[in-house]
Each structure stands twice: as C-alpha cells, then as structure tokens.
Amino acid sequence: MTGMAALQQAGHLTVAGASKRFGAALVLDDLSLAVAKGEFVSLLGPSGCGKTTLLRCIAGLLRPDAGHISVAGRDITTLPAHRRNVGVVFQNYALFPHLTVAENIAFGLRAQGVSKSESAPRVAEALALVRMTEHAGKPVTALSGGQQQRVAVARALVVRPSLLLLDEPFSALDRKLRETMQVELKHLLREVGITAIFVTHDQEEALVVSDRIAVMNAGRIEQLADPATLYGRPASLYVLDFVGQSTRLAGQVTEAAGGMLAVQTALGPVRAPGQFAPGSRVVVAVRPEAVVLGEAAENRIAARVREVSFLGSRTQLHLDLPEEGEDRGVVELPRLPEGIGPGSAVTLAFREADTMVFPAP
C-alpha cells in the first residue's frame, strides 16, 4: 500500500493498479496514473486501447476488477457515480433533449437537492461563463455543435466537480470549429482552475490541449510525458508512430562505443546515441523537421523523392525506399528548393543527437 500512498501524495487524482476485464479481453492491465491539481492530462490511443474504460472507471460508470482510484486523497473506488462529484462531458454531449439549455445546466444542481432560488444564480453564472446566456430558454436540439459543447461543459462545471472528464469532446465538430473550441475550452478550464482528463484518439488535439499526455496501448500507459518530451523523446516505437511523423529505417548495430552506435541501414550507415550490443536489430528514426537537404549534419543518406506535398507553411517530401515494409521516409522543409520534384535524387542530413534508436519490433 506504500506505493498507493506515494501516488496519492503525488496527485489530485490517482489510479493505482487498475485492471478491468470484459469477458476474455483484458482492457485495463494493472494501470497506474497520478494527475496533479489543476493539470490537464490527455489519454491518447487508438480505439480499444482502454482509454474510455479508464475514464468510465474514474467517473464511476464502471468498477475496476482490481486497483484503487482516489480523488483529493479520498478513496472513491466503490463510490457510485452519483456520489463522486466528477463532471463528465460526453462524446456526443448527451444533452437532455426534453429540457431547455438552462434546465440542462440546472439538472445536476436540482438532482443534488440545491433549491431553485439557490441554483438560479449559479446557472446564470455558468451560462455567462460559456457565453450562452441569450440561448438559455432554447431547446438544446436547436443549438449548433459548438453551442451544444458549451452547454455540456457548463452542465458539468456548474456542480463544481472536483475533476472534469472529457470524452472526445471535439469529435462531433468540424475541423475549423474544432481548432477554435480546443483553444477556447483550454482557456476556460484554466480560468476555472479545474483538473481535467481528456480522452482522445487525435494526437494533434492531445498536443494542443494537454499539459501531459498518457499514450495508451493495450490497457497500459506506454508513456506519460509533456507534449515536447513525448514528441522529441518517444519512449517506444509505438509512441513514435502514434504521435507525429518520422523517417524510420530498420537496421543493424555494427559498432557500439561510448554511448554512440553505428547502425547500417538500407540507405547507408547512420550514427546515433544509444545502448545496444553490436549485432542488435534496431530501428533508427528522425523527425521530419530535423532533416535538411545537403550535407550540413553528421548523418547523411541518399534517397529519391517519390511525392511532394505542399502544406502551406512547409513542404513534405515522401521518399522512395528500397525496401517495402515498416520503413517510412517523411521529410519536412520550410520551402522547396528549385528543381526538386518527384523522382529527384537528394541527400538528407540530420544530426546524430536528433537520431533515435529503438529495438526492432
């Protein structure tokens, strides 16, 4: 239990050794997580990784088979959902269509026995907070997607929850609105000063809204880190692939000395920091923006351009690779040099320090 105690001290929300099984499938596998007060943490992963199950366990909509969950030092593992005071913004908002905007927001207060006279000013305050005051009397079915999201947030916040859980809160919005609402919501929650957990499968969204991101895989947290670390120093190939793009090449360690490795890849030799025995099969990777054309860095490889994608502020080159399979080549340049197009032969250079090495899968 000392581990539990240590976690509880570390976090406002702590999950310690949570496991959940559905039939034969182990959906949460001895998972632990600590979130500090006021922190925004994203649970990021593909469908089926267990992130929604974890969220439902925290909300009290599911009970873990093993492990403990506590909020503000209080163990809530066996507390039913309605006594946890955990706010939830559901994926499609789950607004009550038979109630108006104001009635939706007042629902939680009324359910918790707050008198009408007491709840009215709090509802008004919540409406003002999400800038929905003028829509108070409308049925929720008459609202746009963005407005519905604001009502859902206000409904969850008005009961002053100790924790806010958001399940794919932006998935129902179109791209443009999604980007606006991400910044708006982050700002709003920061102002309220609440601790929030986002569930998302969209890595860009996770990078935008979170202080820290937990990348989940098969019921476990693969890496929990701030966005810059996650992107710059992914702990595994899984995290590397899930967050951002990269050029990655399979290879074999030919030499290891003083924390530096020499790796032979299909496109030539590459040097990188790492600890592997000579002869190990590895994957070397470099982020697209760490690569330049020419010879301005220690590692240089020759390749052929297959396709060019203009992305506005930058241009992506997709490389022809000699071998099919797991290898990928993506390079990003601030602008495309004259004469480079599909079929061009190029030399790519990147620093040894930017080169990452992972054990081959």
Binding site: A59, L61, H82, F96
Partner: protein, 263 residues
Amino acid sequence: MERLGLGIAWTALVLVILFLLLPIVVVIPVSFTEATVFRFPPEGFSLQWYAKIRNVDGLLGALWLSARIAALATALSLLLGTLCAIALVRGAVPGAAAITTFMVSPLMLPGLVLGIALLQAAREVGLRDAWWSLLLAHVVITMPFVMRTVLGSLSLFDFAMVDAARTLGCSYPVALWRVLVPNILPGFVSGALFAFIASFDNYPVSMFLVDVRTKTLPIQLLNYLEISPDPTLAAVSTGLIGLTVLVLILCDRLVGLRRMASI
C-alpha cells in the same frame, strides 16, 4: 411532366381523403334524423336516437367491458413489452432478431385464426370464463403495437444520457425516471393508443371468445345491426367518432401526431 406528376399526386391525396372520410361523415347526419331508417338526405332533426342508446340492451355494458378489457390489456402489454424491449435493446440477448419478429408476429396473423386457436386452447385447458380468455387474447393482440413503438423509441434513445444524469448526481433508478422516461414517453403514448384502439375495435378474435353475458362492443354493435338496424347505431357511431377525434387531439397535444405515424 414534373408538374403533371405533382398534380396527379395531389389529386390522389384529395380523393383518398374524401374517400376515406365518406363512410365516417355520412353517419353523423343520419344520427340526427327523425325517420326510422337510414334514408339520405335525413329528414328533420331530432336527438331521439341518442336518447334511445340507453335503452338498447347491453350496449352500455358492452362499451364498459370493451373499455376495461382494452385498458387492462394495454397496461399488461406495456409492462411485458417494455421489459422485453429493454432486454432486446440493452441486453446481450441471443437470437434478438428472431425474438423481435416473434413478439410482433400476432400483427400479421389473420385475426380469426388467432381467435379459433385461442378458443380451442381455452377449451383444452378448461378455461370457460369469457372475461379471462378475452383479456389474455387482447394482450396478444396489443403486444405488437407496444413492442414496435417502444422498441423504436428505445433504439433511438442515447443511453449516454442516463450516464450523464448519474454523473450529475442521480442514482441509477432516478436517472432512468428523470431522463429515460420523459424521452420515450411519446413511444409509450402512441404504443398505448394503438394498442387500446386495436383491442377496443377487435372483432375477429373476440367473436370466438365472447359468451351471452360477456360481449365486447364491436360484437354487440354487429349483433344489433343484424337484428334491428335503425339510426341508433348511427348515434352510437357518431359518439365513438367524437371520442376518437377527442383522443387524437389529446395525443397530438401530448406527443405530436406525426410521431405516431410509424405503425
């Protein structure tokens, strides 16, 4: 060409409505006639046939019996049908599609076949009481209507709303009551309405199950029509039509008529 098509469609709709209303509307003037036959146009104006309703043997009794049977049968099917629909929508029920088909199949079954089957079965087990066999039969008749409408509104219901209510401080039963019930109420009301009408209006099943003292309204009406056809029947019919219109208006106010269209 486009306009021609639309013209045909609108003409057809107007004709259909006139045609459908014709036999219903003609009953009304006939009920106010002074003559003792149905002749058209009706002669004079009198309420004598309405006054005579009271004197017709067994008519009010039959009305009361039909109303009671229909109300009870509807309540029972609502109970059984809703439980079954919840299981089918939310539970992992093996063979859910087959069960759904089975539960709504009495709708497609020829009424007389059902009536005969029930009559025979009632004799087989020694159930001689007409009231009970009528009630059981009418639960079977009403079940498909309840199943279809309740299933329909349950499958449209987003159960995340129940979760949302729980996280906002409602216990599970309270969440069901405050969120599920108001949202599937239209399904309930229209299912109940259809069920009630199907039972109240049923002839082919009931005709095998009634006895001399226990006769439902349609049976009694048809009997009367065969024995002494006079405008009293038109008066009774006018009353029933008025009642129906009243119920429809009530339902429209309650849930909106168009939501009930999905028979």
